[in-house]
Amino acid sequence: MSLLQVQDLKTSYGKVNVLAGVSFQVEPGETYALVGESGSGKTTVIRAIAGLAPAQHGSVKFNGMEIRGASERKLRPLRKDIAMMFQDPVGSLSPRLTVGRLITEPYKIQGMKDRDLNLEAKRLLEMVNLPSHFADRFPYQLSGGQARRVGVARALALEPKLILADEPTAGLDVSVQGELLNLLNDLRERLGLAMVIITHNLNVVRHVADRMGIMYLGRLVEEGTTEEIFRASRHPYTRCLLSANSEPDPDARLERIALKGEPPSLLTRPHGCEFRERCPFAHSGCERVPVWEVENGHGLRCLAPLTS
């Protein structure tokens, strides 16, 4: 049984349907990446999973239990198993609390009174390679990388089974980025964590994700193993995203697939294939609505698929 099973998840705010049916699964110990431009709905997906954003339709099963629309009381025990990391490393830490209090908050929230919080703080800081005197610091005294590690320590406090991470490398310097990814990789192996990572940085995805899904306008347009997507993606949008990645080499020959324009407004979704207007490979047949087809575990929603 999958650890997390998201089925046809739909979210709309008034007339704007941000999620138009998202489905994917995450197995225990697996890292799944959701990739897409801003506005593709990827943040809404994980917020909806965590019950922080509404989802009017569909199902979210964690360990086989339905949690979409569950009450906070029903969710609270599950919060031990699902931890979340937000985009802004410093901004996601309560500004008036010390690091020590921040990382031991999960114990207080879950009512674990028997724990020695000082001891736990020390253990958690050690786990994320921060010196123990950091327990007395306030968030504004931390660098982005340090704050991010505090966020990781807090997410790991209750030994969750699943971590939902929103752009875990956002706002971090290149020299620190690797440190965080190594930490996540290491912890994942040691603790058997499953992760859903949201990012627009494909260079990062390659090193952490086992499988990935590419989102466009609130839908998955392609899904497969990371290796396969990087080697043989078939959706033009995925190719565009991959080709937009730059390399630190002035002589690199970048075969850019130029993407026309910007993502259309969610209020006026295009007819037929919603990527059609920006797609360099669109043909007249693309006016039909493409369906999601899965072949050998590789999902695709496209009427003009590319071959490698």
């Binding site: 922080l52 996601s92 008036r96 007395d136």
Partner: protein
């Protein structure tokens, strides 16, 4: 590193470092000192009459002269600080805490409750303070408590509105979302995470509100609606001084100067505090 010092010490240090803040702190400190030790500082009994020494000018014996009943003005000014703070502190802090609670409920609670509370605040605020005071005094008679009550009732909406706005803006910040994702209860979110981020703003507002209340008390007493004679209040002094301004200007000075000083002191103090309470701003100083 600065983190070895507590936040309170940092705030005090921050205020003292700023020249304006230091002046404010000194004035506020001396008013509080006068109020606490009034009985020892005042050279005379502020209500003791001495008909032989009526309306005297300043002298060594009476630094600010005497009033129409021969009472020592300086002693009355000193004792007046007690009345001023007895009105201002409970009124302002009472209003602040009630406003804070209601404002946070309005900002974090369901929409209908927010609408209801906002309607209540707007209604309360639409009463002009002095008119409202007149009405209440007419009903229950003039007293210190009446003044406190009136001031509290009319300033709650201001605090509540500020608290509500702050709550609304914090509500969708990532750190509050993070708390929700961990399953923190509403009380925990409001009490542990929002309160410390809101109270600083309100405390500053309160510090700057205190002089207004002192002036209001003086005004109400001036109109004869505040503190009853012979209790020495700055407003009562002003009232007597106003009537006798042709005979001696010293009563007006004795009543007016402390009001002005208190206003400046608390305003300086409040303004410096505003810059100092924010840990991020403090870091830059």
């Amino acid at each position: 590193m600065t983190n070895s010092r507590s936040e309170l010490t940092q705030i005090v240090v921050g205020i003292v470092r700023d020249p304006l803040g230091l002046v404010g702190l000194l004035i506020v400190g001396s008013i509080v000192f006068c109020a606490i030790f009034a009985a020892w500082i005042a050279p005379y009994d502020p209500v003791a009459m001495n008909i032989q020494a009526r309306l005297e000018g300043p002298s060594l014996a009476h630094p600010l002269g005497t009033d129409q009943l021969g009472r020592d003005t300086f002693s009355r000014v000193i004792m007046g600080s007690q009345v001023a703070l007895k009105v201002a502190l409970p009124a302002v802090f009472g209003a602040m805490f009630i406003g804070l609670a209601l404002g946070m409920i309005a900002g974090y609670g369901p929409k209908w409750l927010d609408n209801l509370l906002m309607l209540l605040f707007d209604t309360l605020r639409s009463f002009p303070t002095v008119m409202f005071a007149l009405a209440v005094v007419a009903l229950v008679g003039p007293s210190l408590q009446t003044v406190v009550l009136v001031v509290m009732a009319t300033s709650i909406p201001t605090y509540a509105r500020v608290a509500r706005t702050q709550t609304l803006s914090l509500r969708n910040s990532e750190f509050i979302l993070a708390e929700r994702a961990m399953g923190a209860s509403v009380f925990r979110i409001l009490g542990v995470h929002m309160l410390p981020n809101i109270i600083g703003v309100l405390a500053v507002l309160a510090a700057m509100d205190i002089p207004t209340v002192i002036a209001l008390e003086a005004g109400l007493s001036f109109l004869g609606l505040g503190v009853k004679p012979p209790t020495p209040s700055w407003g009562a002094l002003l009232k007597d001084g106003y009537a006798l301004i042709r005979q001696t200007p010293w009563l007006v000075v004795g009543g007016g100067l402390p009001v002005i000083l208190a206003t400046l002191g608390f305003t300086f103090f409040g303004e410096t505090m505003r810059d100092v309470v924010d840990p991020k701003l403090r870091k830059q100083r």
